[in-house]
């Protein structure tokens, strides 16, 4: 995909071309007294991979977890500003978090399968959302596992514990688990940081395939990874969004000195 630097007019054009799934307006977030996110304005586009990069503690994971309000599990978090998911304010009282999280799935840093069988891991989501029919569940399980490119490895051991899988397999299982409820967006919080290079490659290939059907936001430590798999990249530093543009131009001609320093490895 060939993107230009998104300035003024281009940005508007883009918005028409591709639907926005998230818009963030002046988002601020505090952990108690710590100001963790400062005036973030960041649009997320449909069926693209948006990468968020930045050094440890820059707030990239916090931002990601704000998108499905998982961040509120930490005590003492409060926010200001707006996040709209498909034109609905996610902080609105009438927008239940469970509904938001059903549409905005999540894959975590460390694979966290349930201590259940492979089948039950995938079927958990559909089941809690009321799908009881065995045939439909079977279909969903197969489709999700195929979707996460792990079907061939596990099809003969669906009844076995998910804990018998390798780390890389567990992470793809977690992706399959997220796919099982057909979300609109998938948030990925450093999904490959606990994996070896081979498994990382598989997950990256998978992300490329998934963007045909899902919008993906990925937080990553790994700049090469962001460059390889994302369409747009946001660079964050100390809770601020420093730069946001299409991935090619961010890495080739960064507009901000701090971005250049970071991507050329001068710090971080």
């Amino acid at each position: 995909m060939d993107f230009k630097i998104l300035t003024g007019l281009d940005k508007e054009k883009e918005a028409i071309d591709r639907q926005l799934v998230f818009t963030t307006q002046d988002l601020n977030l505090w952990y108690g007294e710590t100001h963790a996110l400062k005036n973030i304005n960041l649009p997320i586009y449909e069926r693209e991979v948006t990468a968020i990069i930045g050094p440890s503690g820059c707030g990239k994971s916090t931002f990601l977890k704000t998108l499905n309000r998982m961040v509120e599990l930490v005590q003492g978090v409060h926010t200001s500003g707006r996040i709209e998911y498909r034109n609905r304010n996610i902080f609105d009282k009438n927008f239940r978090v469970e509904e938001l999280r059903t549409k905005v799935g999540m894959v975590f840093q460390k694979p966290n399968p349930f201590p259940k069988s492979i089948y039950d891991n995938i079927a958990y989501g559909p089941r809690i959302h009321g799908i009881k029919n065995k045939e439909i569940l079977d279909q969903i399980v197969e489709k999700s596992l195929r979707g996460a490119a792990i079907w061939d490895e596990v099809k003969d051991r669906l009844k076995e514990s998910a804990y018998g899988l390798s780390g890389g397999q567990q992470q793809r299982l977690c992706i399959a688990r997220a796919l099982a409820i057909e979300p609109d967006v998938i948030l990925m919080d450093e999904p490959t940081s606990a994996l070896d290079p081979k498994s990382t490659l598989k997950v990256e290939q998978l992300i490329q395939e998934l963007k045909a059907d899902y919008s993906i936001v990925i937080v990553t430590h790994n700049m090469q990874q962001a460059a390889r798999i994302s369409d747009r990249t946001a660079f964050m530093l100390n809770g601020e969004l420093i730069e946001y543009s299409d991935t090619d131009s961010l890495f080739s001609t960064p507009a901000d000195q701090r971005t250049e320093d970071y991507i050329t490895g001068r710090f971080g």
Partner: protein, 318 residues
Amino acid sequence: MRSYNINKEKEIVQTRNLISANMNSNRLMIYIEKAMPKILFVIALLSILTTIGIVFVLITETVDFFQRISVVQFFTGKTLKPLSQNPEFGVLPLINGTIISSVIAMLVAGPIGMMTAIFLSEYASDQVRRVMKPILELLAGIPTIVYGFFAFTFVTPLLREFIPELGATNILSPGLVMGVMIIPMIASLSEDAMSSVPNAIREGALGLGATKLEVTFKVVIPAAFSGIVASFVLGISRAVGETMIVAIASGSSKNFTFDLTQSMQTMTAYVVEVASGDAPAGSTLYYSLYAVAMTLFIFTLCMNILARYVSRRFREEY
């Protein structure tokens, strides 16, 4: 710079020398290190040998008892009249009393303990948990004689307001109080089991749009199941083995009945009654103590085996 290097080398040599000197001088430590596993093994063996000794005595005395009273008569007899002219030794009234009081206790302690555990582990804030859990565990330290007294002088009169036909001694009141006594045990142990389920698993479920209740019942409780079963088994064992509360509040009538308003005797209370009376050594009455104790032992043993099986069968390892 140069002198600094010389000093540094000196320090390195000094440290190395000190360490190697200590290595050679500490011969004693080496022997202790080698002997320690053996000493610990012997000590561990001690408790096992004690248990074996108790079981051995139980068995031999029980065999003596069954030479006087037939096994069938003992286990199927519905009347227990150990002190009458024509004594009868049927253990069923005692088994009945034990089971009924334990069932009442578990009906109280199971649900309340479980819900307390769920609240503490999944819903309570850290501050609330920090205050509530120690208080709960304190409750577990109240001597059972206090509970027995409480059942006899407070709960029974209170219950009689609602159930006029309730006897002054009855099985209902000690059963309920026993339940209250067991709540902290079930709550605390189940809470431990549930809080040790990793948060990452909860987040995984929440991330799929699960509600807190769905996370609790479909992820946390199944994952903590073996620990929860263990807490219930300990609760049941506690109820079955509890003596003072029933001895005080349920009297010593050896009724074989399912009427909760009546006085019944449990196996433990029988042992107290007979052992604290003057049963001459060698009499049938004396040996009956062992037979009842043996029955009690087999009871709790079976329960433990069952629990082990259940928790293994349904275990979800994380």
